[in-house]
Amino acid sequence: MKFLHKHPKLMQFALLLVVFLILCAVVIPSETNVFWRFPSLFAGLPGTINAFAEYLMYDWMLIEIYDPELEEFEESALIKELTRGFSRGVLFCIDLIREILLGGVKTIVAFTSWDFIKENKWAVWPALPWTVVAGGAVILGYALRGKGLALLAGLATGYIAIFGQWVPAMETLSFVLVAAPVSCVLGLFLGSVAYKSSAAEVILKPLLNVAQTMPHFSYLIPVMVFFGVGDHAGAIATIIFATPPMIRLTLLGLKRVSPEVVEAGMMSGCNDIQMMFRVLIPTARRDILIGINQVIMQCLAMAVIASFIGAKGLGFNLLLALNQLRIGQALELGICIVLIAVVLDKLSLAWAHKQTDYFADSGFLQRNKYRSLFLLLLVTAIVFTFFGKVLFADGINYFYLIPHNKGITTELFWQAGVDWMVDNWYQGLQIFNTGLIVGVLMPMKAAYLGMPVIATFVLVMGVGYILGGLRSAIIVGGFLMFIALTEWWDRALITAYMTSFGVMVSAFIGITVGSLCAQNSFATKVILLVCDTFQTFPSFIYLIPVIMLFGVTDTSVLIAVIVYATIPATRYTVEGLSSVPATLHDAGSMSGVNRLQRWLKIEIPLAFPHIMLGINQTVVFALFMVIIGAMIGTDDLGQYILKALSDKNGIGNGLVLGLCVAFIGLAVDHLIHTWADQQKEALDLA
């Protein structure tokens, strides 16, 4: 009793649980019972959205457009023309970069016409030999950072070329090189606007929240409707997906700039523009660079997903390989994506940290040494390429481009590995797999589906009420209500079950590993490095090894979820524990605590709010992965989003389904943040 008095909230939670269980037992499962399942009042919503999108696209704001081919004016909708123009612009940029890297005629066509190309056979832009691009990357790496980065860039480009993935890799690169800068600039711009004007911040905040919890797939459908299919659509979807974190981090960074630095800038006589570009943004560069890093990661994660709407490149090939269960092939492609991500990330970081030496008294050659070096490289490589034409008898010039069927491949090795594993471990894995599915997953799924809707509401809103009062209860209730009124409540429950299973396991592993590693400063460094590295991997990559081991089952998805979602749990645990002030450790030691007591009584309570924020991230990561898992067959919301993708009128379904997923994430996010903020205030950590 005393215990309950000390912790009044526990009492409330217990009471809530009792009510929840009673409701579960009492409510009769029947389609007509409102307390069992709410009627899907929102069933018409997707249709309305479809109609609205169609109206926007074809009937809203009609304008006269001159058609040069028919030589007459035509009526067309404003939005359609705008999106078309935008698509053309993006496509032109992608083609330009792509053709510099791979050769082609589209850019020339853009300035002339197809007829011109037909008449002038010589008018083809030749591809740069791969040696030039690889060498260029090495020089760039050396110029920006030094030998280490040069080596990394060299190895990465070398790997890509020698393994015969040059063409898809350059296709992916061309699309990333358009999407990433656009996202960065757009994010920087919107972030600065939000910093300057609180009205803009108020508008942007909820949009960012939704945008960051919407699954990747949901973006694809509206983009497809408004921008069509192709590389540009992929790039646009990527931009939409990658910009929100950039905005958020820009805003965060700008807000963290110390007021004294701002004042110093003002007293130095900066005008608004100088203030923004020479004081605020450079001072906030730490957060902004994390933003750029996130953008690059998102771009490459989207490389795979964007291939659904026609983006060519590594992602498309990876998807194909996965579908054909060619694990080795998928692995090699995955490594290519990771390498591009890592190299771009490191190059952008190095570029941002670049320093100028004002006192270097240097001649022309010294000042232009990297440019001259590149020129030299270009000439030598071209000479070599011509030389290669003669050297290689089979008509393939390896100095120019290594085609994908002529590159080295380790596919057979991996295939053999998979076969070996299947031969030797099949029994064991199968027992584990079946055991997990039958013993844990199926009952859990059944339990989730067996919840009457009223009980779910009582539980979630009750938790909201206990943690954050009436306001929280209403907010989470609102999120849930939206989902409950669509026709996908059952699907959402399945998503919730997979996510919560993944989160529980991830949190357990993450907190355990994090706590162990935080005891030792070397281990801390190592684990943070591991987290960094794993975070650079696009989410899709995680599916490859699990399919290898478990085939296409729920288990595969869940294991991928767990691996992916453990990263934030671990990272935040380590960060939270190592930010506990040293004086408290000393105070603990002088009070005679042992290690376990120190961990339990000092470290964990103080770090817990931060750890909970990690759990929040874990939930978001897990949700994303569950949805991506639809690729290898699940029966939750993700599967329906995937279906909407191939549906002509999918925009309504896709958006509503995406919102359902986003709202699950936002409800959890709200509860955890409310609680963590309270805890932080109570512990005076804010």
């Binding site: 110390s258 004294e260 004042e263």
Partner: protein, 356 residues
């Protein structure tokens, strides 16, 4: 008052504040008009406002060091920020060289800051992404000077504050004292007439602080700026100031020379500060001397009126006769006797003014 840089009281003041108020809160302006300038902290806090500066009026003359001293929350930094217009004053007038500061548009303000003002911050406010040299060159580059020119000028400043050899370091690679030297160099790079220092040495260790105060006095000896210096350290104020303004709850309690503040505290609050002050270390002979006496009573010893008591105390105390006090031209301005010095140091603190 330091005699070599005697402020020029005859000319127009460089900074002139006239009933300046700064009140934080939404309806501050309205409530202030209603209250007719009679600001009572309680009524304002009831209305959700906080009083920062309450009816501040004073002038700072060319070459003068005015130190604004007060504890945290006394409004001293707010006052400084009103005068640099980093925050907008709620009411009152501020004139810089006769120009109405509050009437300036942002363009004029930027011009003013680029040419006439320099400011040093408590936590240095250095740009973390720029080297020492770049930080110092920053105001020049913002002004539109070419790279070479600004770098050359910045390098002169590096030498002036004694950081040569570290010009390519980043702020994070420097100690606190060195960082503040960068802050000082940056604030002086554009050769401003007016120099604002906001608790510049408060974040430094005591020994470094002393060293930086010496450095500050040395620089002022060379540059002769008009200075507004904010501090919470009374001893620092006494050491550096030509005049001190002591603030409490936004009100200037007393504005006077260090000697007068120590010898004639205007309010109980000011007196509390002066109690612990080692007088022999802050007072000058000129502040405690008696009128000149007959030549017959004088010994052979002469002291300057600007000498700090401590530095000449031994000589005066071992001299049985009265000691002649002279100004820097050598003219006799008064006399002092050992008994007076003893009374000054060990006598009843409050009675000293009656003896004078």
């Amino acid at each position: 008052m330091s005699s070599q840089n005697a402020p020029d009281l005859a000319t127009k003041p460089v900074i002139k504040c006239d009933s300046v108020y700064k009140i934080f809160g939404e309806n501050a302006k309205k409530i202030l008009t209603q209250s007719n300038g009679q600001v009572d902290a309680k009524t304002f806090s009831n209305a959700g406002c906080v009083v920062g500066v309450n009816n501040a009026s004073f002038e700072v003359h060319k070459g003068e060091i005015l130190v604004v001293m007060g504890l945290s929350g006394s409004g001293k930094s707010t006052l400084l920020r009103c005068i640099s217009r980093l925050t907008a004053a709620t009411a009152g007038n501020i004139f810089i060289d006769g120009q109405d500061l509050l009437a300036m548009n942002s363009k004029q303000l930027i011009e003013l800051r680029r040419n006439k003002m320099g400011m040093v911050f408590q936590n240095f406010g250095l740009l973390p992404h720029k080297t020492v040299l770049e930080n110092i060159a920053f105001p020049l580059q913002v002004k539109g000077l070419g790279t070479q020119e600004s770098v050359n000028r910045a390098f002169e400043m590096v030498e002036l504050v004694g950081l040569d050899g570290r010009e390519n370091y980043f702020p994070r690679q420097l100690s606190g004292g060195q960082q503040q030297r960068v802050g000082i160099a940056r604030s002086l790079a554009v050769e401003p007439d007016i120099w604002f220092l906001d608790e510049p040495f408060s974040a430094l260790d005591p020994l470094i602080r002393k060293e930086m105060q010496d450095e500050f006095l040395r620089l002022q000896g060379v540059l002769n700026k008009t200075i507004l210096f904010v501090t919470h350290d009374f001893n620092e104020a006494l050491r550096l100031a030509d005049r001190i303004a002591i603030m409490k709850d936004g009100v200037i309690e007393q504005l006077d020379t260090p000697a007068n503040i120590v010898l004639k505290p205007a309010t109980e609050y000011v007196r509390k500060f002066t109690e612990e002050v080692p007088r022999e270390k802050v007072l000058k002979i000129g502040a405690v001397m008696d009128p000149a006496v007959d030549a017959s009573k004088l010994g052979s010893l002469k002291v300057s009126q600007d000498a700090i008591i401590q530095t000449v105390a031994e000589a005066i105390l071992t001299e049985p006769k009265h000691v002649e006090v002279v100004n820097e031209a050598g003219d006799v301005v008064g006399s002092i006797h050992a008994g007076k010095v003893i009374k000054m140091l060990f006598g009843n603190v409050n009675s000293s003014e009656n003896d004078g």
